[in-house]
């Protein structure tokens, strides 16, 4: 599903985030990416929906070489990759419902369909009763779950999460991870960058440790 072949990312100024990264994640796998800050976890994740382009090497997603993807096709790649951020990246001037509905509206789903799917996604993350609330009135854990609902509402084949439990207490972190496991069980390829080693050990999925831009 996700294949990196000797991918190097060099930023202007010479800083190298990835140095010849080789990595392969199978369809339907659940993988944790670990490593110290600056090891290249975020850069790796951001290359999958083409938020970054590699300086060298090739990235294949679902058999498509991203280097050959035309600019106009990038939005359609991003629709197939649900991305979850540590800082949630919600729109604060819109209700929870509208935030979760955004990917469906972008994809041009019909009105009735949107309502049904948004409620299903909110129900999944346990926030159906908050659909009219504004994101700012929610706790950090709740905002994270709105972000997750938005990422999964279109049922993408891949979910990426960058430090999804970074600011949460252990109980909430466990809840969030359980949600990801549920999505993975229905066949979604799930990639999570995290440094919550204790939790990762306990869950026991495949773990890829990055060090200085390479698989250690």
């Amino acid at each position: 599903m996700i294949r990196f072949d000797s991918v190097t990312k060099r930023y202007p100024g010479g800083n190298e985030a990835l140095r010849g990264l080789d990595l392969h994640i199978e369809r339907g796998e659940m993988v944790f990416i670990t490593g110290a800050s600056g090891a290249g976890k975020s850069t790796f994740l951001r290359m999958i929906p083409l938020l970054e382009r590699p300086s060298y090497g090739s990235v294949m997603i679902d058999g498509v070489n991203l280097q050959r993807l035309r600019r106009g096709r990038v939005p359609f790649l991003r629709r197939r990759v649900g991305m979850i951020f540590q800082d949630h990246r919600l729109l604060h001037d819109r209700s929870v419902f509208d935030n979760v509905a955004l990917p469906l509206v972008i994809a041009g789903r019909q009105h009735a369909d949107v309502g049904r799917r948004v409620r299903a996604a909110l129900d999944k993350v346990g926030l159906l009763h908050k659909e009219k609330a504004s994101p700012v009135t929610l706790s950090g854990g709740e905002q994270q779950r709105v972000g997750i609902a938005r990422a999964v509402v279109t049922r993408p084949p891949v979910i990426l999460a960058d430090e999804p439990t970074g600011n949460l207490d252990p109980a909430l972190s466990e809840e969030i991870m359980a949600l990801f496991e549920q999505f993975n069980q229905v066949g979604v390829t799930t990639v999570i960058a995290s440094h919550d080693h204790a939790l990762i050990e306990r869950l026991g999925h495949r773990r890829i440790h990055l060090e200085e831009g390479r698989v250690a």
């Binding site: 939005p75 790649l77 991003r78 990246r89 729109l91 019909q110």
Partner: protein
């Protein structure tokens, strides 16, 4: 009727953008009103000038548009001689039509129009000479017109020739100048509308940077991101255009009284025209076009620069 799903989705996305941007303008009511007022005035000014020129043209159109020459004959000619001369003038090159006005007809016309019946009745005999009014070919060159005047003056019984071509030409030149001037003003103020809308949309894009980034992040196409801004520009133009049409209609309404008085002093029953349906539609169309153009300019310059982090 069942529409194909993709067309339905497309229509729904456009309807959504159209309605939500209109709602957005209402949310920022004060600033939206100011922007549309600027656009409305900028559109109303050139449209008003053009309307003024149109009205002037309509007001002077009953001068028949074509130049005419009046030949005043000797007062002591008999009616048959007058007719001979009229026929003679009719035969000249450049004359399309003649009207023979006998002193009697001229007097009664004068009495009717001037309202000085009593005074004129005191006159012992008719002081007015017989007149032959010749309609000249429109577009007669200056040289030909001069030749014609000479030919008229050469007729022995003609005392005086008056050509009213000069003031018509002057009026015509004045109208052309006014038309050209209005076009120039329209061009500049149209540019103003584009810049005003462009700048407003640029600020709008700046304010909604986070939203644009997130939309692109979760797979919004450029067209999707662009759409609300283009609709906002269109609404500005449409509302501004309506405001301009309203301003014009109110102005014409205010000016109708005095202008009718002026017209009656010139013995005309001229009434000023408003923009009318086609004028209003043109105004709205121009507003929409300029609004879209301004928005497209801003979107083209600023949207591409925003990429998700």
């Amino acid at each position: 009727m069942k529409l194909p799903a993709t067309l339905h989705a497309w229509l729904e996305q456009h309807a959504r953008a159209a309605i939500s941007t209109l709602g957005g303008l209402r949310l920022r009511l004060a600033s939206s009103l100011m922007t549309t007022a600027v656009i409305g005035i900028a559109l109303a000014l050139p449209a008003g000038f053009l309307l003024l020129v149109d009205n002037l043209e309509a007001a002077t159109a009953n001068q028949n548009g074509t130049p005419q020459a009046s030949a005043f004959l000797q007062a002591d000619l008999g009616i048959d001689q007058q007719r001979d001369i009229a026929n003679q003038i009719q035969a000249l090159a450049g004359v399309t039509e003649v009207e023979h006005i006998t002193p009697e007809v001229a007097l009664s016309e004068f009495q009717r129009r001037s309202g000085m019946q009593e005074t004129l009745a005191l006159l012992e005999d008719n002081p007015l000479p017989p007149v032959v009014v010749a309609q000249l070919e429109s577009g007669l060159s200056g040289v030909d017109a001069d030749a014609l005047v000479k030919a008229l003056e050469a007729i022995a019984a003609v005392e005086e020739v008056r050509l009213d071509r000069v003031w018509l030409e002057r009026l015509d030149a004045l109208m052309q100048l006014a038309n050209r001037g209005s076009g120039l003003i329209a061009l500049l103020l149209g540019l103003t509308v584009i810049l005003v809308v462009g700048n407003t949309i640029r600020l709008d894009i700046e304010n909604r940077r986070a939203e644009i980034e997130i939309t692109k992040l979760i797979g919004g196409t450029d067209a999707f991101v662009r759409r609300p801004f283009l609709y906002t520009g269109m609404w500005y133009g449409l509302i501004g255009g309506s405001l301009a049409a309203l301003l014009l209609i109110i102005s014409v309404f205010i000016l109708t009284g005095p202008s009718s008085r002026l017209a009656s002093l010139y013995e005309s029953n001229f009434e000023p025209m408003g923009p009318g349906l086609s004028g209003t539609l043109t105004l709205l169309g121009c507003g929409v076009l300029l609004g879209l153009l301004g928005a497209a300019l801003a979107v083209g310059r600023h949207l591409a620069a925003i990429e998700p982090r």
